[in-house]
């Protein structure tokens, strides 16, 4: 029998794929039980509840990205360099964990109560990273004055990629990030002079 952590990671991976394909609400515990080859009792023993499983799928990779992004924010780099790194972090992780990100962006509203509040807090942490780097850029004179809604545009450019990104597409996730950063930095950089 595989160790508990490995087993749980395997369940989460199968569940993310099923939720991404058929929706959280369109996936029954029996579907999941069939996919992972465990009885319902054993499955519940591992996951606690279907909603708890959804919560873990939604938050785990975002928490990782926020941690990586925070590490970038702490480096001694220009805001432009930080944005380029953040963009690559986001695009590579969306491409590498597409089912999980699909579920994150599409099924977060299926959570309720405390789990919902916690997941929304993680999503807010993710947004704060972008808010902070834009603020640095304006403060340091690299970027022009920006309306706060700009961060929603940046988030949209990156987050919506779960709809169209193909892990073996024409461009690598890093190349896509670079194209997006050329565009958005061109639009927010302070004009010379």
């Amino acid at each position: 029998m595989p160790p508990r952590g490995v087993q749980k990671e395997r369940i989460r991976r199968h569940a993310a794929r099923l939720f991404a394909e058929n929706g959280y609400r369109g996936t029954g515990v029996q579907d999941l039980s069939d996919a992972v080859g465990l009885g319902r009792g054993t499955l519940y023993h591992h996951i606690g509840s279907k909603e708890r499983l959804l919560f873990e799928i939604i938050t785990l990779h975002v928490v990782d990205v926020v941690a990586d992004a925070r590490a970038v924010l702490d480096l001694d780099l220009t805001a432009e360099e930080k944005i380029r790194r953040l963009s690559r972090i986001v695009m590579t992780t969306v491409a590498a964990h597409l089912p999980e990100w699909t579920v994150f962006f599409r099924d977060i509203d299926a959570l309720s109560g405390l789990l919902r509040r916690e997941a929304l807090a993680v999503r807010a942490d993710f947004e704060d990273v972008w808010v902070e780097v834009l603020r640095q850029g304006v403060r340091d004179g690299e970027f022009r004055d920006l309306d706060p809604v700009v961060v929603k545009g940046l988030l949209g450019m990156h987050n919506y990629s779960y709809v169209w990104i193909a892990p073996s597409g024409r461009l690598s996730p890093e190349e896509i990030a670079d194209v997006f950063c050329d565009l958005l930095l061109g639009g927010i950089r302070r004009p010379p002079g």
Copy 2:
């Protein structure tokens, strides 16, 4: 009894709100029947099927936007002016029909077969509008050479707004469109000289 068209529009509006709140798969025909105050038989008489209803909610407003956008493309305007108008069209309609757009972006994968193919075709028409205006801008020398993935960034900036836009928010949909266009045009305009 209201005329058939009015009744159907009323059903679609209630259904869009319920689907946006609880997901397509999380909304039963009985929920819908309760919300509109019609028996299941009468309801089915109007909608045909729940999936057909989803299809109509998903496509009707997008078809309208594509028609409005095509009219803009046909005008004798610069690519930049067209992008500014397209952006305003998209942001105002997302804000005005938020439940329908939420369902469009989130539940399109719940459609199957022919309805799914038709809905994806409508989504592709919507993308083509942006592709064409970018192509005009490059052809006319207004925009720099752009990688085709740029259109995904533009779509993302606009489409992801269903997650955060508030119909009575700080900025009007038109003002948001203008901020986004200042950003993206700054990033795609050919530098002078």
